[in-house]
Structures are given as structure tokens and as C-alpha cells.
Symmetry: C2
Subunit: 350 residues, 2 copies
């Protein structure tokens, strides 16, 4: 079969296009490999590339882009005690924005002064976690926000009751502003979206450790650097890594095997995940005592000691514990200024 001039041209063109794509793909692959390589390489200062600085901003999910109006609504909802049956419990009761985002209780206390099953995790930087709750049962801040409002031992309202209360209290115009162009802005989903949008502003960048990562080598004490080295060498970093030094997976917490709280397996129904809990994120850990999902460790020293034994089968020396604690104290960042919001209240003339 003879090939015509036109066909020849077409064939050359096709080969060129294929070559171009191949080169593009190859180039991209090289670039990726290079990046991967870089990210695995030890930094010249000896700090593991598994650590990442805490971002200064949290990304919005595609279905919940933040706006000033949405954040403003979420800010009020976060402080809204009408979202609890009694009218005295709000998100801020357990996740106190003025106290490192926690309540400093062993286990959370909610409606009817009932003690909940676990310790309240901090709300600060929760935006950067890959899942929410100690057992990771909520994938997003939006899903998380819906839990405590409905939990019998926390705020104890149905979604319908929550929305009804907000309507009576005067929230309707705020939802309309936060969710414009929606037929029905006042929904439980939107309530959760607004709270999540507010929570994405609760970040604490600028910790000494972050400044150290960014090159300010004078910001950590010698003891803290020794602790950082231990943290890397002894294996803490194998779980506590990334920007949150945790929050990115699950591990069996051998220390609590046999207790009634089986952790993640209650969510996944997988027997092999019994006593698995989310790897605790360590940002601001010096201020978020007491520690563990059951609040059983009162001090960082106690927590580090238990972690060493339970997770690494190591008996840290007193000096090592001191150094590790000193390093953990360098993870305390700068907390934002938060105004107490004006809660909508309809004048009760009628």
C-alpha cells in the first residue's frame, strides 16, 4: 500500500504528538521523583522531612467555601448555648477558645452534668486533621460538628430541635446571608458548615518549633533540640509526623488493652482494630492536659513515659523524658484573638 503525501504528513505529526506527550509524562515523572526524593532527604539541620510547618491558613473543602458571613454565623453558633437542651452548654463549654481549645477535664461534661466517655480534643488546628474524634469517626469538621449537638451526654438536641431553636432566637437572617441563593438556608447541614468555617480560623501558627523549621535556629533551647533528636531517633516521629505531628492515622494503644473503650473497632467493626485510636496530634500539647482519650495522664511527663513503654517498648530515662517534654513544649503556637460574639436574641415584646 502506497502512502500518500498527506498521509505521510499525518503520520509524522502523530509521531511528534506522541513523542511530545511521552516527553511531558517523563518530565513530570522526573519532577515528581525529584520532589519525593527531596521530601525523603534529611535536611542539613538533621530535622526529618516528615515534619511539616503548621500552615497559616486552612483550605476550604469544595462544598464549603468560607465567607465572612459564614464564619460570622459559625462564630456565634460555636458560642450558642441554645444549641443544648438545658441552654447552658455550647461548643465552647468543652472546647474553650480561651483555654487552648479544651476543658482541661479528664472526660468531657455535658447535658445534665453527665460525664462523656472521652477527653475533649482541642478545636485549635483541627482543620488540619485527616479525621475528627479520638476514633476518627467523622471525616470532616462539618461531620464532627453534628455529633455533640445530638449526643445525649453532650448537647442532646435533634437536628430539628436545633434548627427550630435557632429560628426562634433570631438566626434566620444570618443563615440567609451565610448561604445566599439557597432555597432553604436554615438546615442542620448548613449549621455544621458554618461552625466548620469558623473552626478553620482557629489556627495557632508561629510556634518555636515552626520557627525552627523555617530556619530560626536560635529559637529552640539545647534541651529542646536534644528532645527533637530523641523524638526522631527513638521512633516517636514514625507516628507523630506531618504538620500536626499526628492526627493522620490509627495505632493500637497497648496501654489500654482490656479497658471498656475499644476505640476505632467500634467504628469500623474490624476486630483487628480493637484498641486502635487516632494518633494524637501534638500541637499545643503542653496546654491541652490531661492526656490520652481517657484523660488518664495528668502531665506530659506521665504521657511520654507511658507512650515510650506502650508504643515503643522503651523505658525512657528521666533525662530523656525531660528533653522530650521540652521539645513538646516548643509546639505551642500563637492563639488568635477571638471576640465574644453577639448572640442573636429576639426582643420578647409579644
Amino acid at each position: 500500500m502506497r502512502v500518500s503525501g498527506v498521509n505521510k504528513t499525518r503520520a509524522y505529526r502523530s509521531v511528534l504528538v506522541i513523542l511530545f506527550y511521552l516527553m511531558a509524562i517523563f518530565g513530570f515523572a522526573c519532577q515528581q521523583a525529584d520532589q519525593a526524593d527531596k521530601s525523603q532527604t534529611q535536611r542539613p539541620d538533621g530535622v526529618s522531612p516528615l515534619f511539616k510547618p503548621l500552615p497559616a491558613l486552612a483550605d476550604d473543602p469544595a462544598d464549603n467555601i468560607s465567607t465572612t458571613e459564614k464564619i460570622d454565623l459559625g462564630h456565634r453558633l460555636y458560642f450558642e448555648p441554645r444549641l443544648s437542651r438545658s441552654g447552658i452548654i455550647s461548643c465552647n463549654t468543652c472546647h474553650v477558645v480561651g483555654a487552648a481549645g479544651v476543658d482541661h477535664l479528664e472526660k468531657a461534661m455535658g447535658e445534665g452534668a453527665q460525664t462523656g466517655p472521652r477527653n475533649s480534643p482541642t478545636v485549635y488546628n483541627a482543620a488540619f486533621l485527616q479525621s475528627q474524634f479520638w476514633d476518627g469517626r467523622a471525616p470532616t469538621l462539618e461531620e464532627q460538628a453534628k455529633g455533640p449537638i445530638q449526643a445525649h451526654v453532650e448537647m442532646d438536641l435533634t437536628p430539628e430541635e436545633a434548627i427550630q431553636r435557632l429560628k426562634e432566637t433570631g438566626y434566620t437572617p444570618l443563615f440567609e446571608k451565610a448561604f445566599p441563593n439557597e432555597k432553604e438556608p436554615m438546615t442542620f447541614d448548613n449549621l455544621a458548615k458554618a461552625i466548620a468555617a469558623f473552626e478553620r480560623t482557629l489556627l495557632t501558627p508561629g510556634s518555636p518549633f515552626d520557627r525552627y523549621l523555617e530556619g530560626d535556629k536560635d529559637v529552640l533551647t539545647e534541651k529542646q533540640i536534644a528532645g527533637l533528636n530523641l523524638f526522631q531517633e527513638k521512633g516517636c516521629i514514625s507516628c507523630h509526623n506531618g504538620p500536626m505531628l499526628g492526627g493522620n492515622g490509627y495505632q493500637k494503644f497497648s496501654h489500654v488493652v482490656g479497658s471498656s473503650d475499644v476505640g476505632r473497632s467500634a467504628v469500623t467493626k474490624k476486630e483487628e482494630e480493637k484498641y486502635f485510636f487516632r494518633i494524637a496530634p501534638l500541637r499545643n500539647i503542653a496546654l491541652t492536659y490531661p492526656y490520652f482519650h481517657d484523660g488518664s495522664a495528668k502531665t506530659l511527663k506521665a504521657a511520654v513515659t507511658i507512650m515510650g513503654k506502650s508504643q515503643l517498648n522503651r523505658q525512657f530515662t528521666a533525662e530523656e523524658i525531660d528533653q522530650l517534654v521540652a521539645f513538646l513544649e516548643s509546639l505551642t503556637g500563637n492563639f488568635p484573638e477571638i471576640p465574644y460574639p453577639k448572640l442573636p436574641r429576639v426582643a420578647q415584646g409579644g
Copy 2:
């Protein structure tokens, strides 16, 4: 006896001095009489001189002069849940600064989800009240602040426990700054002084009624002016007067005679003061529902109706009630911006 020249001069001088003093005293007396006369005279706009605008600043008592440091300490203490046995109740739980200074519950809820005996009065402008609590049992804000912290159904701590907790939490340097030159700055009395100093900043000037009193005649609606006139003519003003429109005396609340809460007589042990309660201050009353010491009236309309019957033996018409409610709504002032304070928390390394 002859009078010498020198003595004569002295005598004249003495007479002159006496005359001068007499004139001065007389002049002062006239001035006083004039002022008293003016203060009793009806204003040209028909507004009773018994009303006074809400002051923009509260006077400090001589033994508790405000300083920035003291207010700052009080601000934190006001939001401090460690001041309750459970660790979740603060002053702000019942007197929510973002919600007109109240909890909007019939009766306050405190430790152990126990319901207290009475409705939470607003903290706003409490600085201007002549006594604190529904039965006036505390003469000052300082004395008031000590009550709920110790009350079993509210925060349930002894003074010693409260101070011990604050020491453990990291308040010592803040007390030292707020009470310099004191040998022992961390006392329960000083805790109360700091909270009171903060509360003296919780004022809401600039209500439409205040602007009306100051001469802005366009700020009240016709209905509100009709309500103001009714308020004066029907006798409400005879109790609800002064800058707070109340809070300045006690009256028998006939509506509740026979109920278990006997009011002021439990404080004074005077049988004739049975069912006497402090005359309710009416500032921001449209937002501080529900009403009365027992929170039994859900709306202003209900409260005004009951007040008319009970205290004035009057059956207000529906129109009169509407007008009175409209006037009461003009008593809502401007609430200050309040940051959520940073609560001291000692890093728990040890």
C-alpha cells in the same frame, strides 16, 4: 470699758468675716434650693425628672479603684470555669456577655445541672444598682461576686478551694499586678474586687430612651412616647425610676404571695417584708426574658399585664400594653465589644 482703736478694727473685721460666711452659706442654700426645685420640676417635654440617663461610666468605690490590670484579671476570672467544682461553670454561664448578660432560662442552672431558686439577673449596668440579687442581700458588686462561687447549686467552691485552683492554674502574677504592694494579693476578697472592676465596664449607654432624654426627640416612635406617658401617668414610674428604672428599693410583689420564695424577709427577718423583692431594673429589659425573680413571665406583654394587676391594681388595655412594651423596648442600649479572654494555663510538663 473703753474699746481701743485696734480692738475696734478687730471687731469690725470679725463682723465682716461673719457676714461673709453668712452670705456664702445663704448663697449656697439658695443654689441648692434652686437645684432641688429644678430636679423636681417637670421638663418642658413632659418627661419626669425622676428618670435619669444611664451614666457612661460607673464610679469605683473608694476601696476598689479600677486599674487596667485589675479589670484584665477580673475579665479572665469572669470567664474562668475552674472557679466551679466541675470545671464547666463560670460567671458567664449564667450572665452571658454576648446575650444581654443573662442565660434566658427561667431559673439559673449551675453545678451538677441543678436548677437554682431564681432567674439570673443581667450583669449589664449592675454597677448602677443600689443592691445586688433579687432580694438585695449584697450591697455591692464585690459582695455579690462571692456568692455564686460558693453557692452549692451554682459553682460550689469554698474561698480556699477557689484561690488554690487559681494558684495552680497560673493566676499568681496577674493578682500581683492587679494588687501591687499587697503582702498577699491572692485572696478571695481580691478575686471579688477584680470581678467587680470588670463588671463596672459592662455598661450599655446610648439607648433610644437615653438619647430622647438628652434631647433627640425623633428617636422614639409615637407608640413609644405614648408608652412613656402611660408609664408616668399610671404609676409605673413611682417604683421604676432613676438611671436604672428600678434597682433602688423593695416592694411587695403581690402576684407571688403564698409561694415558697418569700424574698427580702428571708434576708431582713422582718415579717412585714415577706414577698418583698428588689424593684426590677428595666434597662435592656426587652432582651433579658424571661421575667420576674422566678422567670415565670415569658414575654414583656405578660410581665406588664401582671405588673399592672399586681402592683397597680390596673387592668391595662391591649393598646396600653402595646404602648408600654414599645416604651420598654426603647431601653435597650449599646452593648460593648468583649474579647474572649486568654485564660492562664500552666504548661503541664512536670
